[in-house]
Symmetry: C2
Subunit: 347 residues, 2 copies
């Protein structure tokens, strides 16, 4: 089966986060039908395929879930471009993984197909799978098939989510001068964050852009009451030169003057490890462009366990989660060829 057909088939299977059993079963069945004879293990967190050996292995890693399908999702019929939810993130990457695994059964390659990446951190399938995989296999490199335009996008940003509460004083809305409108008190925060330019941070000569954004705002309890509190949801993307602790300090320094800051949740950043031998080999063998990953990915889980990892996959990441999500079939074929080049020499 062609990569194109496989990608289209994978897109046609609904697999919104929490509803991944069908696609996991499809991948398992497909591998068997296509004559894959190494171990296939089904876990709660997803599928792990490949034999355990003394030698080190390369892990091909992909999440099988998508974000929910938009009402306006475009599914345009086109012979050179594939449209649809997951086209970019990351059914096309899964197709490359699956065909690579089948074509290279004799190589030291394993595949990890996990659930729940697009949802809450605590429901991410790799959370439970990773310790088992790490114990069973000696992984030399993790390749995360997130969309990267077939660039090696190294490391990843960390994420900090916080809530900033700004307090005012409630009053009857017919006499607003008796209160202190918390919505209006949020203006200086909004103004300052709006004017905050993305801060370039260089790690391994890669430029990561740190950004702090108000992503949600909620205030007021009733139509006829001057609001006594506004809560701004703050999303901070910090670069791989910082630990989560550094990031908490930064955000606290930046925001505590505006209100009460409550750190909500976080995900660690990952160092690009550009000088790692195997990362350099990947870059040299494939000849792909090297870029920073301007987002968080599960590359962080490998990096924090001391395993080199990189993001590499077909499709434009800017189109992920969009109603017009699409990619060129050529992009999938190119990705596959580049992975074969690397595996031929390294696995």
């Amino acid at each position: 089966m062609s990569l194109e057909k496989l990608t289209r088939d994978l897109i046609s299977i609904d697999s919104v986060t929490g509803d991944e059993d069908k696609i996991v079963a499809y991948i398992e069945g497909y591998l068997k039908e296509e004559g894959y004879s190494n171990n296939i293990e089904l876990h709660d967190g997803g599928l792990v395929v490949g034999n355990s050996t003394e030698r080190s292995v390369i892990a091909l890693v992909g999440h099988v879930d998508t974000v929910p399908i938009s009402d306006e999702q475009e599914n345009i019929n086109n012979t050179e471009i594939i449209y649809g939810r997951g086209a970019v993130d990351m059914k096309s990457g899964l197709a490359v993984m699956i065909r690579t695994i089948i074509n290279s059964q004799d190589k030291n390659i394993i595949g990890i197909f996990y659930k729940g990446e697009e949802g809450l951190k605590e429901h991410n399938g790799l959370e439970t799978l990773f310790p088992k995989i790490n114990q069973k296999f000696n992984i030399s490199l993790g390749i995360i098939f997130e969309p990267t335009n077939n660039e090696a996008q190294l490391g990843c940003q960390g994420v900090l989510n916080a809530e900033l509460s700004i307090r005012g004083l409630e009053a009857h809305s017919a006499r607003p001068w008796l209160g202190d409108n918390a919505v209006y008190k949020s203006i200086p925060l909004l103004e300052d964050l709006k004017n905050l330019k993305p801060e370039p941070i260089y790690v391994d000569e890669l430029e990561y852009k740190e950004v702090v954004t108000v992503t949600t705002i909620t205030g007021g309890t009733a139509k006829n009451v001057i609001p006594g509190e506004v809560i701004c949801g703050i999303n901070y993307r910090f670069s791989p030169d910082k630990t989560t602790e550094d990031a908490v300090k930064n955000l606290t320094n930046l925001l505590s003057g505006y209100g009460d800051l409550l750190i909500h949740d976080f995900a660690e950043s990952a160092h690009p490890n550009r000088k790692d031998e195997i990362v350099q080999k990947f870059i040299n063998i494939t000849g792909v462009k090297v870029e920073p990953k301007q987002a968080w990915t599960d590359v962080a889980r490998f990096t924090s366990a001391g395993i080199p990892a990189l993001n590499f996959g077909p499709g434009n990441p800017d189109l992920a989660h969009k109603a017009n999500e699409h990619l060129a079939i050529q992009d999938i074929n190119d990705c596959f060829s580049l992975v074969q080049q690397f595996i031929k020499e390294e696995a």
Copy 2:
């Protein structure tokens, strides 16, 4: 029973909007026990008491419900001051109404005790009661016992509630430059409304202050998405010189440049009718201070039916709905005396 004791008893009965049956039954029972022998009619909307005659009647009007009791509600023990939810709005006013009705059974007075004033307009008990009352009685004056510090607070402001939607463009929060943050796009609106001074409007030489306020704000769908829409709830208090239609025009002119305006609901204003003969008599006989009503009250329902009405009751309206809601017992006794003076001459 003293006005003080009656007020304290009324406060002790929970009667949050939607749960008024107990207090209605108490008032009905109290009137009978105290020897009230005129008609008492129980309707879904509340209680109507008094006999229908050829002569015109004065309607004493009060809502029996309160807003919900705050966790921090103060119920301080004090011999000169009464604390508690409803102390001001308007259990003390109800007490004055009840004792007046009992003391003046032979006068042309009716009492209207209605449900649901503090809730949604469509659940206001007077909505269903008013047409029946208006058909049965020839009302010459409605006295609404809302707290007014024992001033004659004339007319009332109208209310317009609207939603203003400001649109941006969604994007991944790691790359905010690909989107257009709708929360930040709301800043000019918030800034301009914050700086909008209350506009004084004079009607019958009374100064009403028109105000436009953002009372609620909601924006953003997820922690990791640049928000594509923010909705601001707008509350406009317009003066008695304007119809609701005028107010819609005003608000549209003021706000349509900032986003899409949707008018949600409204309540009409009421003219002060200061020059009405019976309103002038009330002012002359009682000698009370005359002020504008800087809020909406059910006086509007009487005014729009062509019946003169005014707001008059014990307690500071600024303490209504507050956790420290309280008033002096002297205030209740003074209110009662002033009402007796008026009734002696006019009912």
